[in-house]
């Protein structure tokens, strides 16, 4: 199976739904070690994305990702806005004029997105940020195996990565102000990154089923 723009739009729609469902949970995580707005930020951004996607058809994955990027950048704010915005913006650039993505190109595209996040936020794995979920998830896409299996592995890797932020002290973002007091709490941005990969895996699984 190839990920063309309609499959990818289905992913974004599914992601929007799961962010809405998880909004309160994301906010709770952020209230514990941040400022309690991550759920609202993400929900506001993806609600706008849904409206934008409904308004006009994107021709290519790159078009779609650019639309998502620009919408997130102009509606989310906070730390997560520029970061997820950059993720999709760099993904868009890497997608070029491909009409559809296979596993290898998906990896390239999302790796570019991750690189953008790391460049913009200067976080490395272990800093207790979304990078801790995104990095193992993108890494799980390496290879030329089955797309669906790879995506399932990526979703699991993201969830593991997010889980592993719990014992960490944060070195970036608001949670870093707390020092040791951040220990024991999952990073909210890592939790939203899990939704990104989980929704993609689900979308593909349902389409293939």
């Amino acid at each position: 199976m190839m990920l063309d723009v309609s499959v990818l739009a289905g992913w974004i729609e599914r992601l929007t739904g799961s962010i809405e469902r998880e909004q309160e949970h994301l906010t709770e995580l952020d209230a514990a070690i941040g400022d309690g707005d991550h759920g609202a930020n993400m929900a506001r951004g993806f609600k706008a994305v849904r409206e934008k996607i409904a308004q006009g058809k994107s021709e290519t994955p790159a078009d779609l990702f650019k639309l998502v990027a620009m919408t997130l950048i102009s509606t989310v704010g906070g730390a997560s806005g520029p970061l997820y915005g950059t993720f999709f913006l760099e993904a868009s650039k890497a997608a070029g004029d491909a009409r559809a993505l296979d596993l290898a190109s998906l990896h390239t595209v999302l790796a570019a997105g991750l690189a953008g996040v790391r460049m913009r936020g200067k976080a490395v794995p272990g800093d207790k940020t979304m990078v801790d979920a995104l990095t193992p998830a993108v890494d799980a896409l390496v290879g030329d195996g089955d797309l669906r299996k790879a995506l399932e592995a990526a979703a699991v890797a993201a969830a593991d990565g997010a889980e592993q932020t719990r014992p960490l002290v944060a070195h970036k973002g608001r949670a870093s102000y707390l020092g040791e007091r951040a220990i024991g709490h999952k990073d909210p941005g890592a939790a939203s990154s899990v939704l990104l990969f989980a929704s993609l895996a689900q979308e593909v699984a349902e389409l293939e089923a």
Partner: protein, 333 residues
């Protein structure tokens, strides 16, 4: 959650509309993207000052737009930094041809959003400088954190640079002045109660009846430590100690002493804190020559306070004293 709001989604826009109506003589509120600008802007030939940040800190920043202070302010959602398109639109709208200074509180989100906007403005050929305010001594500055937060000291930077800009200082000078103000500013805050972000609907943390949250920022985030309730004089000491330890004040210095309320603390209590803070400053040989007492950088309805000290130079004092005409700070005009 008990607030005078219509819905969490409408808080910022409803309040912006209220401000627009109330202060139509002083400012213009532009929508989508949202920003607040001086009614008489852009001012030709003057360096424009743009700030912004999450809402919920009122009067910061929108209440400081006007002659002698900010040219524009970009309000984000509650406790969420504004987006680059807001900052871009505000910067374009107030650019008077002499460059634009972005005064940015040091939060990852604020810094990144302002950075993205500045990159785009530079591409348009507008000279944009950015000064990061990081006056909060509660956070240890280190390679392993996002660095110190920008808190109440921001008001002082905006006022002083605004006064100097009005008097004709160029972008270079203002950037240096703002950097100098920030370097000479230290703040420390404490909370008696949490606050409730409208979207969250629940208090940002829970405090027992005999507890205070020490070393808080301005976003309802937990602070450096949870401590037992103390009398006001002791609280003033607890806030002054880390400020005075942390550089740059020495006996004989002239300072501005600023006692700030977090939104839910009445003026009465701020004066009680001011009394002791002043006494401590004097004991350290500091000469308090200017002051500010009031709720100027808030965390929604949080009961709490912060103390800010700024080491004043003659130029800063002069800029501070110059006329200012904004909804929240006004003198000489």
């Amino acid at each position: 959650m008990k607030k005078f709001i219509n819905s969490p989604e409408d808080v910022v826009t409803d309040a912006l509309e209220g401000m627009a109506i109330a202060h139509a003589d002083l400012l213009k509120v532009c929508r989508e993207p949202d920003y607040i600008m001086r009614a008489d802007g852009p001012v030709r030939g003057k360096v424009a000052l743009v700030s912004g940040g999450g809402s919920g800190h009122e009067p910061l920043h929108g209440g400081f737009v006007g002659r002698g202070m900010l040219d524009a302010a970009c309000p984000g959602a509650v406790f969420t930094s504004p987006t680059p398109d807001q900052i871009l639109a505000a910067t374009r709208a107030v650019d008077g041809g002499a460059g634009v200074l972005h005064i940015v509180k040091n939060y990852t989100g604020d810094v990144m959003n302002f950075e993205m906007a500045a990159e785009l403005m530079q591409a348009e050929g507008v000279d944009v400088r950015q000064v990061i305010i990081d006056d909060d001594v509660a956070v240890k500055d280190s390679l392993y954190t996002a660095g110190r937060r920008g808190v109440a000291g921001t008001v002082l930077a905006e006022r002083i640079c605004g006064g100097a800009a009005e008097a004709g200082a160029d972008l270079e000078t203002l950037t240096a002045l703002c950097t100098e103000v920030n370097a000479g500013t230290r703040s420390m805050g404490i909370a008696l109660t949490p606050c409730t972000v409208p979207h969250a609907g629940k208090p940002s943390f829970a405090l027992a009846e005999d507890e205070m949250e020490f070393g808080i920022g301005i976003h309802g985030e937990p602070g450096r430590a949870r401590v037992k309730l103390e009398p006001a004089d002791r609280v003033a000491e607890m806030l002054m100690e880390p400020i005075l330890e942390d550089l740059p004040f020495s006996a004989g210095d002239e300072i501005l002493l600023f006692v700030n309320g977090m939104g839910g603390t009445p003026l009465l209590e701020l004066y009680i804190l001011y009394r002791k803070a002043y006494e401590i400053a004097q004991q350290h040989g500091l000469k308090v020559s200017r002051h500010l007492v009031g709720s100027y950088t808030t965390s929604l309805e949080m009961a709490g306070a912060s103390i800010t000290l700024l080491r004043l130079t003659g130029a800063m004092r002069q800029a501070w004293d110059a006329p200012v005409l904004t909804p929240a700070l006004r003198w000489g005009a």
